[in-house]
Symmetry: D4
Subunit: 173 residues, 8 copies
């Protein structure tokens, strides 16, 4: 239905990365980069809760059968996308608040995280750090059944630790 | 599908009053009382965005054909009900933030009002005052084509004005 | 009394678009563009609650008789314009919080939306998205009695949906 | 027009204490008590910006001629009363945010204090402390031309200071 | 080391439910109830980031080897427990903000959700709804590799949907 | 003691304009401009609550005797200047929250306005609009005993009203 | 000058515990209990920034000479006490935000913590936990030169750790 | 382990300045400058709570033995560094909220200051003013046992006071 071009080169996506508008790419793109880095196949799609509600339902309803194991959904303002996906599928949905309004993402954070009992969304930080972490959390979920992936995550952590330990002050610019 | 008992005694509802849970009745009930007072036929239904998403879509899709001219939707927390209804129908949707969480309704206010360009929700105040005002606003919308209703609204306003002008200080308890 | 130049080219305005200052035009202008796009006749006026209170009352008192069916009012800071118009007319008033202070519009949002029971203002999102949505909500109100307008709204939504479905990732710049 | 019973026993009120509803008396009453204590003649009235806008204008327009030197206005939620009075008179208006909604008065504080350049409202703290302080501030204004009143204020301060200096810990209950 | 008594009756816990203090049980208990209801073996422990930091590290370091597949961590105020666990294990950590201070949980929400890129915590709503949802989210994670559990989750959802559809208005008390 | 150069050219200042740092001049300067415009003699001084507490006390203690009738005090962050002046003099103190920190002035607003019962500060809006309004409010206070000044204020308001009524849309740039 | 009765039984107070009003004792009392528990001599006094400003200056100016090594200051609303003490002495001042207004202490937190560069206040949590922690932080400061005190602090921590490790779930009531 | 280059030229550091990332140097650097200015030996290190948790524990556990008397810890977002250090050492920890996210440091402020009873962090203002003040507060702590340092602090204060008293308005640019 849509014409995405940012899917991973790997076949059979395990993670669906969706966002309310192509303009959210600057925030969600780093999630895709992180999945690429970890060798996790994914697809990236624009799915708008408010402008394409039927496509949202179709996406959610078909997610499990199409093999998706985690959905990462980013949205701004009155961010309904993650919660409505979560209402329509049992695939775990990770929500990334996008700072799309003058309130700097506090509106989208509350719209995503304050779900009522019964329909959870695992919410990450506002903006790019949240997008990267959504990818890492998806990897941790997939890693519960994939020791090799768990190994790659452990390597990534070790590299990050080493990088911090090697930082000098004042920083070299 | 549902078994509501709070519909107005009048036939052919013009206003749909929906809420995410029967426990929201204490907030939304005053909207129904106000509609009753103004002689506006309505129906009251529990429609949960997260627990009954299909019923939400069905409700929104059939609203116009069933004769609804305004929808009043109350919801708390990550309040997606008004926005998702608005995404699925062109019948004007009025949103009432319900104080259902520890954040006293500021979460539901932002979740309802911060809609992206393209899909509006006319948002009222948090809690009961917002519910009463949603009913009055619905009446004002219907009144644009109904002089008699406009007259009843004008009478109600005049009565309120007189009531204020007659208040004494300190108040008689 | 004022010398507006931004009125629609169509005669007999149905919507009054008012703002507290000409400097609010950058926010409210998109409301006028949207009304133009939908073929809805409107007038645009500067009406300041605090600097021209008498003109505000005159505007509100004459609105219904002059044929206005909806008023869109944008204001920033201690935004009293929408609520005071609503107090003086039964024409539905839509409020648009303008980010005019250092608080990014959260002050105007609360000043507009937290109206007491009795005098409703249908409140939209902070800033330009709210202005566009006020125009669309006005159209939905007018559309309840105008099937042709409803048709144009439906076309606009379908076009928006198609536009989203056609978006590619990463976005083509 | 109204039937107040809480006016000071002294003739020729210098301070007008107005509130949006008789239910605000529990907050504004302490302002009147403080004025009584200082021997300042006042009148207390219910004036609602939204339910009695014409009475509001009439009150403001006649205030100076009737001899009022200061107006104390308390209001809750979308608190428009102080700002609209200030827009209609040059008598100094002191605003007291009343905690009338679920937001505990932060909405009324912002609605009162964030006035645009041109029309000031001297704003006090939320709730009863603000009401007492509005009375004291009115007294300080009147005291600029009334040495005897200034003396009573100085005595009150000295008494308060002595009271604090005499407090014991833990407090005697 | 600790003497918990709230573990599930089932052997080999897959989910660790930890909280900063036994007084958080009123919030986290519903997470355990939900896991019980879904037949998911869990253990419940008091682990305080600030009072038992070594025990926290020990808990996190041993989690994976002991067979835990998900950790649910609830904490209030400066809620460091979820984030520090996440820093020490690759087992997915779900964070539940506990309303333990005068700020009603907004402090713990921000302390849990605003993690930097590199160490994710999947955050749920403040308080009991978040605790229930953490259990459901843990079940959805485990369900990605357990069709029977997925079936129980689907049944639970269907039951919830039916319950909402059967609600009457006004609610029967 | 200090070496101010921004005092009005008029003798015998009636208004003291004080600020915590010379860097606050960009915010408080407009208050002086407005006083100049209204022909009100003033002095402008840097008085820091935290860096020159003794000078603050000296300033406050001598204010009344030196003929000051109103003090305008601007301060940012933990803004203690207005409240401490108010604690040391019965001359009315007007507080202007200066946006000096990353919190955009909400910290200084709360630090200034939330005074306990007994010591009032009349608080204006955050930033320049508040500074202009402090000058106007000072003028209104002085105007209670100065009909000529009241006349100039009335002229200024009329001019502002005329200016708004003459604004065109879209604005001429 | 004042008549305190809550001083420690030990001679030569090292810590001054001050609060704006005897009604703050319910919050600050636990600080004194903690100091008692650790065997640290202290004095407790009511010192109001706004009602007894001269006493505040006197207290601060004499603190060092009287042997105080740390001052703990609790205050609510526009909490100026800690910052003004800090402006008048080089004895380290610890600030405890007291929840004395409708804003639950967020106003006092910002008023205390947002001090400008030059005059620090070490700020603790809102309310009782902050009061206890102020006492512990004072003990840590004194402990830098008192190994025995450091030992008592270490014992207290170990006892707390043991207490947490011994907690059972569900808690025994 | 790390390779810092910003340590003071003096031997035997008394203050440890740590930050979560080298990118925090722009905020924490001024703390080091202030310590240099006061002649206090310090070390500066990158210690990340989330990326180098073991290094954090090692740093905290060895701090006292290595002669550190105060630790200054700056962190942004979900700022766990100060609180976790405080959990692992009795050396007083001063926390500086770093504005590292879209929430401008209010998230890190709450994450640092809202510590539970038992483990205090003395919190300073958000950003650079807080960093400078952390250094000054560390100096005041060290000064309780170092009259010469107290003298240098007193000189610095006097210089600041003189600087303010010499400021002219409008400021010379």
């Amino acid at each position: 239905m849509t014409t995405p071009t940012a899917d991973s080169a790997l076949p059979a996506p395990l993670v669906g990365v969706v966002m309310g508008s192509a303009s959210d790419w600057s925030v969600l793109g780093p999630a895709c980069d992180t999945l690429d880095e970890l060798g996790i196949p994914y697809e990236a799609r624009v799915v708008s809760a408010h402008r394409t509600p039927d496509w949202l339902f179709e996406y959610a309803e078909s997610a499990e059968a199409r093999g998706l194991r985690v959905i990462i959904a980013g949205a701004g303002g009155a961010a309904h996308l993650p919660g409505m996906l979560a209402a329509k599928t049992l695939v775990p949905v990770l929500g990334v608040p996008v700072p799309a309004t003058l309130l700097n993402g506090i509106d989208s954070l509350l719209s995503i995280v304050q779900m009522p009992a019964g329909v959870p969304v695992g919410t990450l930080a506002i903006g790019k750090p949240g997008a990267v972490n959504a990818a890492l959390f998806a990897a941790q979920i997939l890693g519960t059944a994939d020791p090799a992936l768990r190994g790659r995550l452990a390597e990534r952590r070790a590299a990050n630790e080493a990088k911090v330990l090697g930082q000098t002050l004042p920083p070299q610019t």
